[in-house]
């Protein structure tokens, strides 16, 4: 039973990932990211993603702060932030966020303020969504790793070299 838990969790992870893919929240770059994870950097993906969330949160905050300034809208700064966000989002494969960023940037290039504000709202929403989902994903992954470590005492252990 306990041994099966690990597989169940793995399936859950994959399902979750699949749903995220189907919704277009993530794209194949996330898989590439996963491929980059190996023994030398076991938590690579979660590290990167965590860093991404920290950075993006900062960016979003400053974007929000910029958007609050009613009279003076610094499109240049906004675009700079957006480019950063877009770059990092595409690196981890946060497809939908990146798409929203593109829309946002297009709006900012046209000095379309309402469009920007909408895009910002959407961005924040997407960000939350992605964060929740990935958080969930990593939680399941963690559980899976834990579960994978549990064995019945009499279960044949993997053969040690010694």
């Amino acid at each position: 039973m306990l041994g099966l838990q690990s597989y169940r969790l793995l399936a859950d992870m994959n399902r979750l990932l699949a749903s995220l893919f189907h919704q277009g929240v993530l794209d194949e770059h996330f898989l590439q990211l996963q491929q980059l994870q190996d023994e030398s950097s076991p938590n690579f993906v979660s590290q990167v993603v965590n860093m991404y969330f920290n950075e993006s949160e900062k960016l979003l905050r400053s974007l929000r702060a910029l958007s609050v300034d009613r009279e003076h809208w610094e499109y240049k700064k906004v675009r700079l932030h957006l480019n950063q966000l877009m770059g990092s989002s595409s690196s981890i494969g946060a497809n939908r966020i990146r798409n929203v960023c593109i829309a946002f940037r297009a709006a900012s290039e046209q000095n379309n303020r309402p469009g920007c504000l909408r895009a910002l709202d959407l961005l924040e929403h997407e960000f939350c969504y992605l964060k929740n989902k990935l958080h969930e994903f990593f939680l399941i992954e963690q559980q899976q790793v834990l579960a994978a470590g549990i064995r019945y005492p009499n279960y044949p252990m993997p053969q040690h070299p010694n």
């Binding site: 189907h22 194949e28 860093m51 950063q84 690196s91 939908r96 798409n99 924040e124």
Partner: protein
């Protein structure tokens, strides 16, 4: 004449006024009253005299007036009084003069007396100073003495004359002579007196008579009056008790004297206001009280003029009115001005009222906007956490739960969904209202949509209802429209129908109609199309669209066969080697593709039920927001009343119309007619794979897959609503196969087991939409087309999906193995492809290659080929400010066996290149301090000139310690050759690519950087020795 000027009750004052008006030239000579110079006076009078004509006078009447009217006599007496007063004044002055003269005489006499007295004192000196003489006494004496003295003299004179003896002849002779002398003297005196008398008579004659004087005064007054009145726009007149003019003064006479005198107003001229003035005068005459009135005349004589008329009665001595004095002043201009001012004031008032009204409405509008904005924001705010809750609950529902937990969870999920739906509704509405809603044009199959909607409805059905769908044969298999929205409308209408239907059936009927109005057909699709075109969200550009569409068209040439698809895409991308990742979204492609061959078909959709119906009086407001058929309905059935409003707005947005017909207690039919585009080119000879794919393996679907083309679906009532069925929550029943479960089954059925042949591009956007729609409410309302398109654009994605699916299917190690094999596959393949292709930056191509190679089953692991390359490691500089990207890139480099130096901005990059040598530079475009373009320019300028002046000029400070003079020679040699600089940007538009090349960059890698991209770059730009 000046009696008109008189004011009856202040005669005294008038006297004063008169006297002040006239110079008192009676005593003019040598008097101080003469203020005016005679010459000027004369001139003025002359001028005045010439103006005497305007006055027309009936002199008889004037005499009558002055004689009989009280006023006239008082006027005369006034004149007399004034004359008397003047005469008295003259007398007084004469007396005063006399007094002063006599005083002077007395003084002179006094002096004389004094002199005499002095002499007398001299006489008395001999007798000594007997008594003191006071001055006063002396003066007294003088008064007494003077006449006495005179007498004395006279007596003294007579006495010596009669020296002869009394009563003698001599005496008498002497007496006679004396008397004769006296007589003579008296005669002389008489003569003198006579002369004097004569003289005085003459002088008396010379003096002017009071009458003359009076008439002079009158003339003067007359003259002055004329002088004052000569330019005044006044008419002065006197009318008798029959209101016949007896006198009129009019400076601008338009009629002769004979035409006016003796006639009444009415007789003189006709027109508006004449009668009124006549009546007014009569009224004054009768009442005997003076009055003023403004009368507007509208006569032929002088046009339209307004006169201010003052009429006062004239009384006879007996107190009877004998006529009126009349004075009119032309106030036309004033009246006009006054009217204008009044009008302006009125206008201003109206304006102000309007302004306040406008301000109010602006305020209200602003408030509404703000409220809407807030609503939207709030909805977002609520939605995000709620999405978390719901999705967590979904996850939870997949875990192991006991029955009770599962039930609780299902309730939780359905409530969560409800709230989400509600918020989505609000958002939708505000989107449609604010015009933000964009429509997508995607290919879809109406039959499937209907079926899915009914399926979904059936799955959550809690009543014993039959759901049926009927589609006539003439409805095209595939049409183009915004399937998400159409689904939304259908779902809304169906759920509405189910909500209000307790037994019987609910159904959808679809059939083609001729377009409802000819003009509409022309209009709306165009509008719609424009909307789509302008959708900025797609962020793509024509260039790429063309390429993609070209590819798609090619695909059509291949008759839609999957086999043909891969080569065709290859072809397209050979043409457009730099097509970037995110551009070729299939949504765009689809849209463009159908343009030349499309026709419009109008499909009518009836959603009918056998429910409670809608009362007739509720029909007009049915589609209003927050409006339900009635308060009791709302209480009984709940809901926000937003659904129909949204449906209507969506339908209208798509250029159609939504109507309803209903009979209470029998049911209602909601009908919407929408235009759809149909591709005539594509003759839906659909491949079964797609179909299968579409249908999935829905648990609720017990139909044959081929039903997609059949025109009738029926979902019979179940025994009990599945939500509470023991088998598990109805929701997850429908959800799981569609969402999470889909992948696994999908792969097994749709994809051949042979994993090396990838059926690429079989997920059309619509299908994914549908699936997504069904499984995740969260995304349904998102306007952005990206979610689905992102999955679409390349087979690579399917590739990955399949990997995921594989992972689900196989166990851990197995999938791991698979990934690596595919990975290496692609790398090896790339090496092969490189032979004929020099520049590949598009990952899609990689996929093409990949699939190609995989199809030819050349899947051999080639990892070892990469690793030996890294024996002499190239120096790589990564210029990137984003930590995440740095981390990812570093990790990728590590996998490729490279080490990298990382700097964070352009300045640091220039410094790094200044201080050491690099074989290749990866440069992010947008960075703080200095962006990639500038840094590249600076580096290139160094390479050309051999010095860093440009960089120093740009403000880059070089670390002196690092500026190694030792390596300088070597460096300048080595770095003189062009360092490959590869731009990295998330800005995938080709103009930014142009910008990169223009600034001296060698290549262009769009973010996200992939292993393939990196490998390719290394291959291309690193010398083979490295």
């Amino acid at each position: 004449m000046d009696c008109e000027m008189e004011n009856e009750h202040s005669e005294e004052m008038d006297m004063e006024v008169l006297s002040s008006m006239w110079p008192e030239d009676i005593n003019e000579e040598g008097k101080m009253f003469n203020l005016e110079k005679p010459g000027a006076d004369h001139d003025m009078l002359e001028g005045v005299k010439s103006k005497e004509e305007p006055a027309a006078v009936d002199f008889n009447r004037l005499v009558d007036l002055t004689t009989y009217s009280e006023k006239g006599s008082s006027q005369l007496s006034n004149l007399v009084k004034s004359w008397e007063y003047k005469q008295a004044n003259a007398v007084r002055l004469l007396r005063e003069e006399l007094d002063s003269l006599s005083k002077q005489q007395k003084k002179v006499e006094l002096k004389k007396l004094e002199m005499i007295e002095e002499h007398r004192f001299e006489e008395h000196k001999y007798g000594g100073n007997k008594r003191p003489v006071s001055v006063l006494d002396e003066v007294y004496d003088i008064w007494q003495e003077v006449p006495r003295r005179k007498n004395d003299v006279v007596v003294h004179d007579q006495r010596p004359e009669i020296e002869a003896e009394y009563d003698t002849i001599i005496f008498w002779k002497q007496r006679a002579i004396h008397l004769e002398k006296l007589l003579e003297a008296s005669m002389q005196r008489e003569q003198i007196a006579l002369e004097k008398l004569q003289e005085s008579i003459q002088s008396l004659e010379r003096q002017s008579s009071p009458v003359e004087e009076l008439s002079q005064v009158l003339r003067r007054a007359d003259n002055y009056l004329h002088f004052v009145l000569q330019n005044a726009p006044v008419v002065i007149g006197h009318q008798d008790n029959e209101l016949r003019y007896r006198f009129i003064y009019n400076h601008f006479p338009s009629l002769g004297e004979e035409e006016i005198i003796g006639k009444t107003d009415v007789e003189i001229f006709a027109g508006g206001g004449v009668k009124e003035s006549q009546d007014f005068k009569r009224e004054v005459l009768e009442r005997g009280v003076a009055a003023k009135r403004e009368i507007t005349f509208e006569t032929e004589l002088f046009g339209s003029k307004t006169f201010l008329i003052y009429v006062e009665p004239v009384f006879s001595k007996a107190g009877e009115t004998i006529g009126v004095n009349y004075m009119g002043m032309d106030v036309t201009d004033q009246v006009r001005k006054r009217e204008r001012v009044a009008q302006l004031r009125e206008e201003i008032a109206v304006q102000k009222a309007k302004e306040t009204e406008l301000n109010k409405s602006i305020h209200i509008t602003e408030e509404t906007m703000r409220a809407k904005q807030m609503l939207a924001t709030m909805s977002h705010e609520i939605r995000s956490p709620l999405a978390g809750v719901v999705s967590m609950a979904e996850i939870l529902s997949t875990s192991k739960l006991d029955k009770e937990q599962r039930q609780l969870l299902s309730v939780m999920l359905s409530s969560g969904d409800l709230v989400l739906q509600l918020i989505n509704d609000i958002l939708d509405l505000s989107k449609v209202e604010s015009g933000v809603m964009r429509l997508e044009a995607t290919k879809f199959r109406p039959r499937e949509v209907v079926k899915h909607v009914l399926q979904t409805a059936a799955a959550s059905l809690q009543k014993i209802l039959t759901l049926e769908g009927h589609i006539t044969d003439d409805v095209p298999v595939e049409v183009i429209g915004d399937v998400l929205r159409i689904r939304q409308i259908l779902t809304n209408l169906i759920s509405n129908a189910i909500k209000f239907t307790h037994e019987g059936k609910v159904g959808i009927k679809l059939y083609v109609v001729t377009d409802p109005c000819a003009c509409k057909q022309g209009d709306s699709p165009n509008i719609k199309y424009k909307e789509e075109q302008s959708a900025p969200v797609k962020g793509s550009h024509d260039h790429n669209i063309q390429s993609t569409s070209k590819c798609r068209c090619d695909q059509k040439d291949f008759d839609g066969q999957k086999q043909g698809e891969v080569p065709c895409q290859c072809r397209a991308h050979n043409d457009e080697t730099r097509t970037s990742l995110e551009n070729g979204t299939s949504t765009n492609g689809d849209r463009e593709e159908y343009l030349p061959h499309e026709t419009t078909v109008w499909i009518r959709c009836d959603v009918h039920d056998t429910g409670i119906g809608i009362p007739e009086k509720a029909l007009p407001t049915l589609f209003n927001k927050y409006m339900q058929a009635g308060a009791d309905t709302a209480r009984k059935y709940g809901g926000t009343g937003l659904g129909l409003a949204i449906c209507k707005q969506l339908v209208e947005l798509m250029g159609g119309q939504l109507t309803v017909s209903s009979k209470e207690h029998q049911g209602s039919i909601f009908t919407f007619i929408l235009p759809y585009k149909v591709s005539t080119m594509y003759d839906c000879s659909d491949d079964p794979d797609e179909l299968q794919d579409m249908m999935g393996h829905d648990a609720a679907n017990d139909m044959n897959d081929d039903d997609a083309n059949s025109g009738f679906f029926k979902f019979q009532p179940r025994t009990l609503g599945p939500i509470f069925s023991a088998s598990g929550p109805g929701r997850s029943q429908t959800l799981r196969p569609n969402g999470f479960g889909l992948g696994a089954i999908h792969t097994r059925t749709a994809y051949p087991q042979d994993s090396s042949s990838f059926p690429s591009g079989n997920n059309t956007p619509k299908e994914i939409c549908l699936i997504e729609d069904a499984c995740s409410e969260v995304d349904v309302t998102e306007t952005s087309p990206e979610p689905e398109s992102s999955l679409m654009y390349s087979p690579e994605c399917n590739n990955k999906n399949s990997i995921v699916n594989e992972q689900i299917k196989h166990d851990d190690e197995n999938s791991q193995l698979k990934i690596s094999s595919i990975n290496t596959c692609s790398s090896s393949q790339r090496r092969k492809g490189d032979l004929d292709m020099t520049k590949i930056s598009d990952p899609r191509e990689m996929c093409q290659m990949q699939t190609k190679s995989e199809r030819s089953s050349e899947c051999t692991s080639n990892d070892s080929r990469d690793i030996p390359k890294t024996t002499s490691k190239p120096k790589i500089l990564l210029v990137e400010d984003s930590k995440i990207n740095v981390m990812v890139a570093r990790s990728m480099m590590k996998q490729l066996g490279h080490e990298i130096v990382v700097v964070n901005n352009g300045v640091e990059a220039v410094r790094a290149i200044h201080s050491s040598h690099f074989d290749i530079v990866f440069m992010d475009l947008y960075m703080p301090l200095m962006d990639g373009l500038e840094a590249t320019r600076l580096i290139r300028s160094f390479e050309e000139t051999g010095n860093w002046e440009a960089a120093i000029k740009a403000g880059v400070e070089f670390d002196v310690s690092h500026s190694n003079s030792i390596t300088n020679g070597q460096q300048s040699l080595s770095s003189r050759k062009r360092i490959p600089i590869i731009a990295m940007t998330a800005n995938a538009l080709s103009e930014s690519a142009d910008e990169c090349y223009a600034n001296g960059m060698d290549s262009f890698v769009s973010k996200p950087v992939t292993l393939n991209n990196l490998r390719q770059c290394f291959q291309e730009y690193l010398p083979p020795s490295l």
